[in-house]
């Protein structure tokens, strides 16, 4: 039994009388100890997938409109909100993109960690506090005994993200969902945080879903990768396999668009056009307006999944040969 | 004890919100006033409200009986000598001030002197006084330059009148009103406290000795039945009425005429008419502007106006007003019809013709009125309309009362202004008789008649001269009377001893509940 199984998940935004599908039937599984990277440009639905999985869409006009999410074999949609909260923050935890705003500015960081602890475990104030200090030490915050009394604004962005991680780890979750955890951080700090996540995962054996727009971050951290475009996973594979054999023209284009520091190119091979908005209806493959090798078939029908060796899957009528 | 009480009241508040009226001791009389008095010093203050409060504390040598005739109060008796030029007044010997001192002629002389020099109405008498001396411990002697008819009325009129204070208080007193701590009089109630905005409270003077005789008007026996009289400013008239209805007050003054029918028929309310009517006056500027010396134009204005609709609008029920041209009401000794044919003609055409004759060419006539007194304002609105119909160009300016008082002292600021006058027992006290009163009516004709009027001591002759003066007023029109207004007050039916009407100011001795 997989730890988490997402089947045909559909998430829609209610806009006036229309339902716009933001996540359009995606499926993936993740096992204990695995790191799944979900990559894509803004608006592709990657963050909503994470929020839907976690159960945090309440209070927005966005709803899960189809599919199932199974956590340890249990269909989360069948749980009452209270039962769902028992899992949230306990067996399944999440960290977010903006460490600057994701902590409540009016409470000390220690209290915020303690709150997470006491929500799911019966601990005395003293026990909870000791545990919070341990957690801060675990995420390598120097001088945790004093730092526990800091307010969020007294910490740097990197430190705050560490606090967020400590809070997420408070109840030893089986799954950690990290939504763009390093996007707002400087590159030197980013590498520290990524190192930390990788190390903690090894220590605890938890599964991690890492969501990022940065192919480099994904490549360095994850062992499975799903590439999303316009609400659908268009390519999924083991990380090694994916970067060795890019099969979708979008993934190819994405990789070619990145100017890298360790290689010189005169001209970037950019994908043309722009990401279509949700309101724009596209017949056939949704990537067809931007695809360099679009064919007649691409304009009329949406491609189904084509499977390659080692579980490499791609949604393209004309997958690339997959040579570097 | 105290804590227990607080606890109890808190409990009570929770369970029995209906028990509202019982905050005051039974012996406190609660009077909802229209505002606060400027000061209670009777020598210099002419506010009716001040007198309503103060005449329970301060007394003069004389006062009025039910038929408005002067009778002794602190005086025991008097005699005229020297053809009316020397007045000897004997004082009662049993009178004590609130501070415990007995009243002697020294106190009376000091009080009369200050009143004569600084008092509002003192000048009327004292311009005729040659000397004032104590001719014994309990006797004073006033020597006049010439016989002066109205002296006793002036002495009996306590509003702006000669209240008797201890000499110690009078020492150094000037035009500036006395401080509350100097409120020491001889009356049945004495000064308690004055909490600004909250109330003025008088408490019973247990050492009071009353004048002899049965109660008659303000004269005779005075008995303080209440432990305290509390005068509470309730400026909103609706609140005053509601307060009486709900039992929060025992007595409330200055109630609009339009509510009379309702209140008169309400079993929870007693209405008390005032015996002496007040009357509105529209003064004309004799010193400056288009109306100066132009008696014809003034008569044109007078002719244009029909007083009745204004009274209907301003007052309401016919019981409460009279379109009466005589300055003093029917039944009063000073009543006369002289000149009153011109009181309320309401003839626009005749007015137009007169105005044309007077050379009026449509210059604006500045009329000042204050909304602090709604009936002035209502009257002004109606008059303005009538005058406009008669071709006058009226510039109506509405001010607050303080501004109006300031402006009316400046002759170039106005042509007509509205005010009103309280009931007075002697015509000499009517403001238009004062040459310095704004309007500044001081024609030779007036001067001649006024001299004769004050010099005479013969009641019949004085009545005759007064009717000549009234006729002159209708001819020269220094002011227009707007009509008599019988104001009324309301009280809780529990209050006993009020009678069906008040004389001039309500008095609460011999009253209980």
């Amino acid at each position: 039994m997989a730890l988490l199984e997402v089947e045909d998940l559909e998430v829609s935004l209610k806009s006036g009388r229309d339902l716009l599908k933001v996540v359009d039937g995606i499926s993936f599984t993740i096992e204990q100890g695995e790191t799944l990277g979900i990559v894509g440009e803004s608006g592709c639905g990657k963050s909503l997938t994470a929020l839907a999985t976690m159960g945090l869409l309440g209070g927005t006009p966005i709803r899960v409109t189809g599919g199932r999410i199974l956590f340890e074999g249990q269909d989360l949609s069948l749980l009452t909100p209270n039962q769902r909260r028992m899992i949230m923050g306990n067996q399944m935890a999440m960290i977010f993109q903006e460490p600057m705003t994701s902590l409540n500015p009016v409470y000390r960081v220690g209290d915020q960690i303690i709150e997470a602890l006491q929500q799911h475990e019966t601990l005395s104030q003293k026990q909870a506090r000791d545990r919070a200090i341990e957690l801060l030490a675990l995420v390598r915050i120097p001088d945790p005994k004093n730092r526990i009394n800091s307010f969020p604004h007294q910490l740097s962005g990197g430190m705050r993200q560490r606090v967020m991680i400590a809070m997420a780890l408070a109840c030893d979750p089986k799954l950690l969902i990290a939504d763009e955890p390093t996007t707002a951080l400087d590159v030197t700090v980013q590498s520290q945080i990524l190192d930390l996540i990788v190390d903690l995962q090894k220590q605890t054996g938890m599964a991690v879903i890492l969501i990022s727009h940065d192919l480099g971050v994904i490549a360095e951290t994850c062992n499975k990768v799903a590439v999303m475009y316009r609400g659908k996973v268009i390519e999924a594979a083991d990380a090694d396999d994916l970067f060795a054999h890019l099969r979708h023209p979008y993934t190819r284009g994405l990789l070619d668009s990145i100017p890298v520091a360790d290689k010189e190119v005169e001209h970037l091979n950019a994908i043309k056009g722009r990401v279509p908005t949700l309101e724009e209806a596209i017949e056939g493959c949704t990537f067809n307006p931007r695809c360099p090798n679009v064919q007649q078939k691409c304009l009329s029908s949406y491609p189904s999944v084509a499977a390659f060796e080692r579980g490499h899957e791609v949604r393209c009528h004309f997958p690339l040969e997959g040579n570097e | 004890m105290k804590i227990n009480k607080v606890w109890k009241s808190t409990l009570a508040m929770g369970f029995a919100l209906t028990l509202s009226g019982a905050a005051f001791a039974e012996g406190t009389f609660r009077y909802a006033t229209v505002g606060e008095p400027p000061s209670l010093d009777q020598h210099v203050i002419t506010s009716d409200l001040a007198t309503t409060i103060a005449h329970h504390m301060f007394e003069g040598l004389y006062t009025f009986n039910a038929s408005n005739a002067p009778v002794p109060l602190l005086a025991a008796g008097d005699s005229l000598e020297d053809g009316g030029k020397t007045i000897k007044i004997d004082l009662r010997k049993d009178v004590k001030f609130h501070n415990g001192q007995a009243m002697t002629s020294a106190d009376v002389v000091a009080s009369l002197n200050r009143w004569g020099e600084f008092g509002s109405r003192g000048g009327l008498l004292f311009s005729n006084v040659e000397s004032l001396t104590a001719s014994g411990d309990h006797q004073i002697t006033i020597k006049l330059k010439a016989p002066f008819g109205p002296w006793k009325n002036l002495m009996a009129f306590i509003n702006g009148g000669p209240a008797i204070y201890p000499a110690s208080v009078m020492n150094g007193a000037t035009k500036e009103p006395l401080d509350p701590k100097e409120y020491i009089g001889t009356g049945p109630y004495q000064f308690g406290e004055w909490l600004p905005n909250r109330h003025v409270e008088l408490v019973r003077n247990d050492a009071y000795t009353s004048a002899a005789g049965a109660a008659d008007g303000y004269g005779g026996e005075r008995k303080a039945e209440f432990d305290a009289l509390r005068f509470i400013p309730v400026s909103d008239v609706g609140t005053r009425v509601s307060g009486i209805r709900a039992g929060d007050y025992d007595y409330a003054e200055s109630i609009p005429g339009d509510l009379f029918a309702d209140l008169d028929g309400d079993a929870n309310v007693t209405t008390i008419l005032n015996g002496g009517p007040i009357f509105g006056l529209a003064f004309m500027n004799s010193k400056h502007g288009p109306l100066k010396e132009n008696f014809k134009l003034r008569r044109a204005i007078q002719t244009a106006i029909n007083k009745t609709p204004a009274l209907q609008v301003a007052i309401g029920p016919e019981k409460l007003w009279a379109a009466n041209g005589s300055f003093l009401p029917k039944g009063n000794v000073w009543h006369t019809e002289a000149g009153t044919a011109n009181f309320s003609k309401g003839d626009a055409e005749a007015a137009k013709a007169l105005a044309k004759e007077a050379g009026y060419a449509g210059d604006p006539i500045k009329v000042m009125v204050s909304t602090n007194y709604p009936f002035h304002y209502d009257t002004a609105i109606v008059y303005t309309k009538q005058l406009a119909q008669a071709g006058f160009n009226i510039d109506l300016q509405v001010y607050d009362w303080a501004t109006l008082i300031k402006k009316r002292a400046q002759p170039d600021q106005w042509d007509i202004f509205f005010t009103h006058h309280g009931f007075v027992p002697d015509p000499i006290l009517i403001s238009v008789m004062n040459d310095n009163y704004p309007g500044w009516w001081a024609t030779p004709e007036k001067a001649a008649l006024k001299a004769k009027f004050t010099a005479s001591a013969d009641p019949e002759e004085r009545k005759k001269i007064w009717s000549d003066i009234q006729a002159l007023i209708y001819e020269q029109v220094p002011t227009m009377k707007t009509g008599d207004v019988y104001t009324y007050n309301i009280a809780s039916p529990k209050v006993k001893g009020l009678g069906s009407s008040t004389l001039i100011w309500p008095a609460f001795w011999n009253v209980s509940k």
Binding site: V189, A239, S257, I258 | -
Partner: protein, 332 residues
């Protein structure tokens, strides 16, 4: 090193300090935040200088100071020989045509109440580049085509465009004046990867066609490498290292440059770990001596006490480090 005669812009010892804390009558405890504290560099005609560094290092302030959007606190910046820092706003106004700026946020840099035509015609009118409505419209249409937009978009308002399109409009507004120097402040960092590549290509093409000089400010080393001729690395208000981009990227001299380079995630699977050297200090309370010393594996006493001055470590390659001779290992 570029000869100062040919350089278009020569910045010497530039300082920009902000006052923080305290104000009003008794604001005695105000301090200076030294956003830029002695920065020198030159830009030659037709050259692109990349200015790279982490957030808070003062790189944007350099750009804003050179366009007089911030007031400098010291130093000089000679543009074609004239010290622009000494100029009043009014004196500088005619020069604004020559020194133009591209801003980071394509959503905030266009006035939402002005149509594209209004936005683009404003600089033309002010600098009298074109007169008469028809001429102006022609120039604008031309420019829009150059940045890859259809001239018919002229009548539309900013909210009708995507981020990439807006940034193209921003570039059009700058290029329409044919400036001599463009300061591009994080010009592509707000854009999605696929759009970023398009805009970068556009900027690079336009720069090469027009020969305009450029100060390209970015936190992204890849982007900087792609577009620049020379690169300056900033750390806490100072330049740590400056030189030709080949030298900086293949042969970095400053330990900080090395740390930066090894921190960039590459698209090759597998994690190469970097030593945890802590986080940057804040410019409000900079460390003594070399500002990088708390994070530097090579730090010695001199680093803690003395601020290193720039020393030459090769042709046109300067670095501000006391230990240029020592090797440093950044990998964990």
């Amino acid at each position: 090193m570029t000869d100062s005669i040919q350089s278009l812009l020569s910045v010497k010892n530039l300082k920009t300090w902000f006052e923080i804390g305290g104000s009003g009558l008794f604001g005695g405890n105000s301090r200076a935040l030294k956003a830029i504290d002695g920065v020198s560099f030159e830009i030659a005609h037709g050259e692109v200088l990349g200015l790279v560094g982490e957030s808070g290092c003062g790189k944007s302030t350099v750009g804003r100071t050179l366009t007089l959007l911030e007031k400098s606190s010291g130093g000089e910046a000679r543009f074609e020989g004239q010290d622009i820092l000494k100029m009043s706003n009014a004196e500088f106004r005619p020069l604004r045509r020559s020194i133009q700026m591209i801003f980071q946020d394509p959503f905030a840099s266009l006035n939402p109440r002005l149509s594209i035509e209004q936005t683009l015609s404003e600089p033309l009118r002010i600098h009298e580049v074109a007169t008469g409505r028809q001429e102006i419209i022609n120039v604008i249409a031309d420019m829009l085509t150059k940045v890859g937009l259809d001239p018919s978009v002229m009548a539309r308002y900013p909210h009708e465009f995507s981020g990439g399109q807006r940034q193209r409009i921003g570039i059009a507004r700058v290029m329409i004046l044919a400036p001599k120097l463009i300061i591009a402040d994080e010009a592509v960092s707000a854009l999605d990867v696929s759009i970023q590549a398009q805009v970068l290509n556009l900027i690079k093409d336009l720069q090469q066609d027009s020969g305009v000089s450029m100060l390209f400010i970015s936190h992204d080393l890849g982007v900087v490498r792609h577009i620049s001729d020379r690169v300056a690395v900033m750390y806490l208000g100072r330049i740590a290292e400056i030189g030709r981009k080949e030298d900086i990227f293949t042969n970095p001299a400053h330990p900080y440059t090395k740390l930066l380079l090894s921190s960039i995630p590459s698209t090759k699977p597998g994690r190469k770990k970097v030593r945890d050297l802590g986080e940057p200090a804040s410019a409000a309370s900079p460390p003594s001596g070399c500002a990088f010393h708390p994070r530097c594996p090579l730090a010695s006493d001199i680093c803690r006490s003395t601020r290193p001055e720039a020393v030459s470590v090769g042709s046109d390659h300067l670095t501000a480090c006391h230990h240029t001779d020592k090797a440093v290992d950044i990998a964990a």
